[in-house]
């Protein structure tokens, strides 16, 4: 890439071709004030505070969007510029309510800071004020009187999140932000617009007027809800109700949170200590044949469980991590979300990504908006939330993922070795195509699109991991990695699925086994963060520890609010394998699996000003030497009749998010009009769903944005054991009423 040389305030600087004058100035440490600039979006160029002068050019130019040209000479500070900027600041203050004393943003408000910085102590402009109605949009509140029309909110919503739910209603002095095409806001409530708003215009309804920024203590940590492990900060305060999390914020210049991370924190437990219970837990482990545990645990806990396994000679069950581990064996290395962001062609297979993993969805949105990436979604159910970024939707039949993958591989790979060639030639593509409903034309379209693209990513979702033929699907997918230049991202389901799969030596869960102890999972003796468990332990947000995200990054967790009960280390100590603190195990995580010997206290957890991610460290992905063999494609399963897809609502991931009041978990079965007709149910009906021997009563809700004959059933409220090892699609019978007494 050719470099551009130019002068900034007399200093010689060098810029790459995609840098703006502002980004060069920030890089070399020159200050240009801005009000509407957000590094992660395209410039909205609305504040005009970033003006600079270029020698020989009339007028002022906006440094946030102008790119430098060879040999120009730029002035960032002159009398005229200061006057211009001061006037802009005065204009911002015209009729701006004098309510810093109560405003949620006070103390961290850009307008407040810049007004002080420019010393605006008198006003020379005026305008007739007008009535501006305060809006309440669910989890968000909007006060148009405070809004400075910087457009950051609309830019993140469109370019990063992809909801594109708010827009500017232009009207000169009376411009406002409004929900797009509706009176109230109907979005996925990520709350990112609240985060980027430089003033107190967009606020969190739950937090509104509850505390001020200077009263809150920040606890940097990692979101425990899904495998993305986004960076967040809990803001806590100790007041009349005891210590509480008041809100969650993020370093919005560099990170993005979904609503579960931002609003899902009110599951915090106090805990209590009862020696008897602790001892009974120890006894249960001593007498147990197996421990069944969830992946919502830290690496340190996983290591303790592994040590307990070795000491007590019992089995360790964690189907989620075991399946993930097997599935990922054929791949030489796995991609990260950064790879997704910088790709220009993305295939998504077997995932409803908008609810499975919002962070990946945001990465896809960014690739689409900023790099013009083509996005192909292959799935049996169309996702209305993704329609803004999807360039091609391929609908295949539920259950036919193996066939779909085989067809993709057959078409997209080239220069394969002989054995693979013979295998691919022998595939019965006519049968596969007919049964999976994945047509020749669609394949052609994908191939044509890919021929123009360089960095390709395929995202493999939970449908594939739970598929009975998961292993062969993975082997097939590894051919795309080897012979078609694809990077592969596997959507791990929970926060520490990856970590557990690296640390623990897992056994196949034999559900019928007697004498099990559960750790975050139901069993005969259950230890979990739930207060109804036989022994309650701290949830992840109340423990120190580390987790490994789907990006294979090890990240630290900190204690948001103190937990007064026990942790696994207390049990380990009685068994004689514990340490003083849980985090003393951090430096002992197995280096053979790619961990480093770094101690917990040496792990950083922030982004530098230039966006460099210093959080934790990246796990060395050990090249697995496993020689996987391709198996013949099995006959594709048919899913006729009433079919449901296990899929939580957006922002729901687990029992903890289900507890959060702000996230309002709904237990209804959601289906399209077509489904309602086929299953003979209508909106609001109480129904009983029966599959494989289990019954559950739910309400049926009609969703007109859904299409097709498959309904979506939440899983957060389902008995985890009944889901073990089950494919995500299920044939069910639905009867009206709750007739199971």
């Amino acid at each position: 890439m050719n470099k551009i040389n130019f002068k900034l305030d007399g200093i010689d600087v060098e810029a790459s071709s995609d840098e703006t004058i502002l980004s060069v100035a920030r890089r070399v440490g020159l200050y240009i004030p801005t009000m509407c600039y957000l590094k992660k979006t395209t410039p909205s160029a609305s504040c005009r505070l970033c003006v600079v002068e270029v020698e020989g050019v009339d007028g002022m130019i906006l440094s946030c969007q102008a790119k430098p040209t060879q040999d120009i000479s730029v002035t960032t500070n002159s009398e005229a510029l200061i006057k211009e900027r001061t006037n802009i600041m005065k204009l911002y203050s015209v009729n701006h309510p004098l309510e810093c004393g109560v405003c949620d943003k006070s103390g961290e408000c850009d307008l407040q800071n810049k007004t002080a910085e420019f010393g605006i102590d008198q006003q020379s402009f005026s305008a007739k004020d007008q009535y501006r109605e305060v809006k309440e949009w669910g989890l968000l509140g909007y006060n148009p009187s405070l809004c400075i029309m910087c457009e950051k909110c609309t830019h993140v919503c469109n370019e990063i999140i992809g909801d594109d739910a708010i827009e500017i209603e232009y009207g000169g002095y009376s411009s406002t932000i409004t929900p797009k095409g509706s009176d109230t806001l109907d979005c996925t409530f990520c709350g990112e617009c609240i985060a980027v708003c430089p003033v107190g215009a967009l606020t969190s309804s739950d937090f509104h007027y509850r505390a001020n920024s200077w009263e809150l203590t920040k606890v940097p940590s990692t979101c425990p809800h899904c495998s993305a492990g986004c960076a967040l900060e809990y803001e806590v305060k100790n007041s009349h109700g005891g210590e509480k999390i008041y809100r969650v914020v993020n370093d919005y210049e560099h990170t993005t949170l979904c609503g579960a991370g931002r609003f899902g924190f009110d599951y915090i437990a106090d805990g209590s200590k009862d020696e008897m219970k602790l001892q009974s837990a120890v006894d249960a482990i001593k007498g147990a044949k197996a421990i069944r545990f969830s992946s919502q645990i830290s690496n340190e806990e996983a290591l303790m469980l592994q040590k307990i396994k070795e000491q007590q000679g019992l089995k360790l069950f964690n189907e989620d991590a075991r399946v993930y581990s097997k599935f990922t064996t054929p791949f030489s290395s796995l991609a990260t979300r950064e790879d997704v962001k910088s790709s220009d062609a993305i295939l998504i297979l077997g995932s409803r990504i908008s609810s499975d993993n919002p962070a990946i969805r945001y990465a896809i949105t960014e690739a689409s908006r900023h790099r013009g990436a083509s996005v192909v979604n292959l799935h049996p159910i169309e996702d209305a939330l993704m329609q803004n970024v999807i360039t091609q939707f391929v609908k295949y039949e539920a259950g036919s993922e193996e066939g779909v993958m085989a067809l993709l591989v057959q078409r997209l790979v080239c220069d394969v070795d002989d054995a693979t060639k013979r295998y691919l030639d022998s595939l019965d593509d006519g049968y596969l195509s007919a049964e999976s409903n994945f047509g020749e034309d669609e394949l052609d379209e994908i191939a044509a699109m890919l021929s123009r693209k360089e960095s390709r990513v395929i995202i493999l979702g939970a449908d594939l991991l739970s598929h009975p033929r998961a292993e062969n699907i993975a082997v097939l997918a590894s051919l795309l990695q080897r012979y078609a230049g694809f990077k592969v991202l596997v959507v791990a389901s929970q926060i520490n699925t990856v970590g557990v799969s690296l640390i623990c030596d897992l056994d196949l869960d034999d559900k019928s086994i007697d004498g099990t102890v559960g750790y975050g999972m139901p069993a005969e003796f259950t230890i979990s963060y739930d207060d109804s468990a036989d022994l309650q332990v701290a949830p992840l947000s109340q423990q120190e520890g580390t987790v490994v995200t789907l990006d294979h990054q090890l990240l630290p967790l900190n204690v948001a609010v103190e937990f007064n009960g026990y942790v696994l280390n207390d049990i380990a100590n009685i068994l004689g394998i514990g340490k003083r603190d849980t985090v003393d195990f951090t430096s002992e995580l197995p280096q053979s699996a790619g961990f480093k010997s770094t101690a917990f206290d040496l792990l950083e957890n922030f982004y530098q000003h230039d966006g460099l991610d210093t959080r934790g460290y990246f796990i060395d992905q050990t090249e697995s030497g496993a020689n996987s063999t391709l198996e013949d494609i099995e006959d594709l399963a048919e899913f006729n009749g009433t079919v449901i897809y296990r899929c939580d609502e957006v922002l729901q991931f687990n029992a903890l998010t289900a507890k959060c009041a702000a996230l309002g978990a709904d237990s209804a079965l959601v289906g399209s009009a077509q489904f309602a007709v086929a299953a003979r149910v209508s909106d609001g009906d109480l129904i009983t769903i029966t599959s494989a021997g289990t019954d559950r009563v739910r309400e049926f809700k009609l969703d007109n944005t859904l299409k097709g004959t498959i309904a979506l059933e939440p899983m957060v409220d389902r008995e985890p054991l009944s889901l073990l090892g089950r494919y995500r699609y299920e044939k069910v019978t639905i009867t009206k009423g709750s007739c199971d007494e």
């Binding site: 006070s106 509104h208 505390a211 001020n212």
Partner: protein, 203 residues
């Protein structure tokens, strides 16, 4: 002596004199005789006689606390008071939390909420007087002249933790409306001679 004279007095020339102190006895017999002399001198009765004489003269200087109390200076910093706005009687405190932040002994706790009329309302406010050092910082930082120090200095309690609640500190509404609420002239108060306007809320 006036304050002026007091400040300017020349201590080197005033009528200070040195007290005569006898030599301390050194020998054992001298020490013995000193003890005997002091024991039988009856000085105690001299003191008792003075008290008795003054009692009969009814010339008593002792303050009959708690029946009597000394007036305290206007800038004395005793238990806090929460002021109201004139006329409307609305609470002055806007719940900004600056007092909580500045409090050097971390004894103020404030909780606020979004109330039914879309305003910020103080839902709970306590000061732990067992910790308060009556420094006056809270009163000084308050942008609304809401929290001030009052004259109530009696805060004995059976335990260390002794809290005062917002409601107890708040000026009674009628004294705000009829104008008998007093402005505090101490630390953090309005500049003297500046007129306090009635609140525009009462239009």
């Amino acid at each position: 002596m006036s304050l002026e004279e007091f400040k300017n007095r020349d201590i080197s020339q005033s009528n200070y004199y040195k007290v005569d102190i006898d030599e301390y006895p050194t020998t054992n017999s001298a020490k013995f005789f000193q003890v005997v002399r002091r024991t039988f001198k009856g000085e105690m009765f001299v003191g008792l006689w003075v008290v008795l004489r003054e009692m009969f003269k009814f010339n008593i200087h002792t303050l009959q606390y708690p029946k009597e109390k000394l007036p305290i200076t206007p800038r004395y910093r005793a238990i806090h008071e929460m002021q109201r706005l004139f006329e409307s009687g609305t609470d002055r405190c806007i719940g900004c939390g600056l007092c909580e932040k500045i409090c050097i002994s971390d004894c103020i706790r404030i909780d606020t909420r979004y109330d039914e009329s879309s305003r910020k309302e103080v839902s709970e406010y306590t000061i732990n007087l067992g910790r308060c050092i009556f420094c006056g910082y809270c009163a000084e930082v308050c942008p609304e002249l809401a929290i001030v120090h009052g004259g109530r200095y009696e805060n004995v309690s059976e335990q260390r933790e002794h809290f005062t609640l917002y409601e107890d500190m708040l000026t009674p509404i009628d004294s705000a409306i009829n104008g008998t609420q007093k402005e505090y002239p101490g630390f953090g108060a309005i500049t003297p001679n500046e007129s306090v306007k009635k609140t525009p809320l009462a239009y």
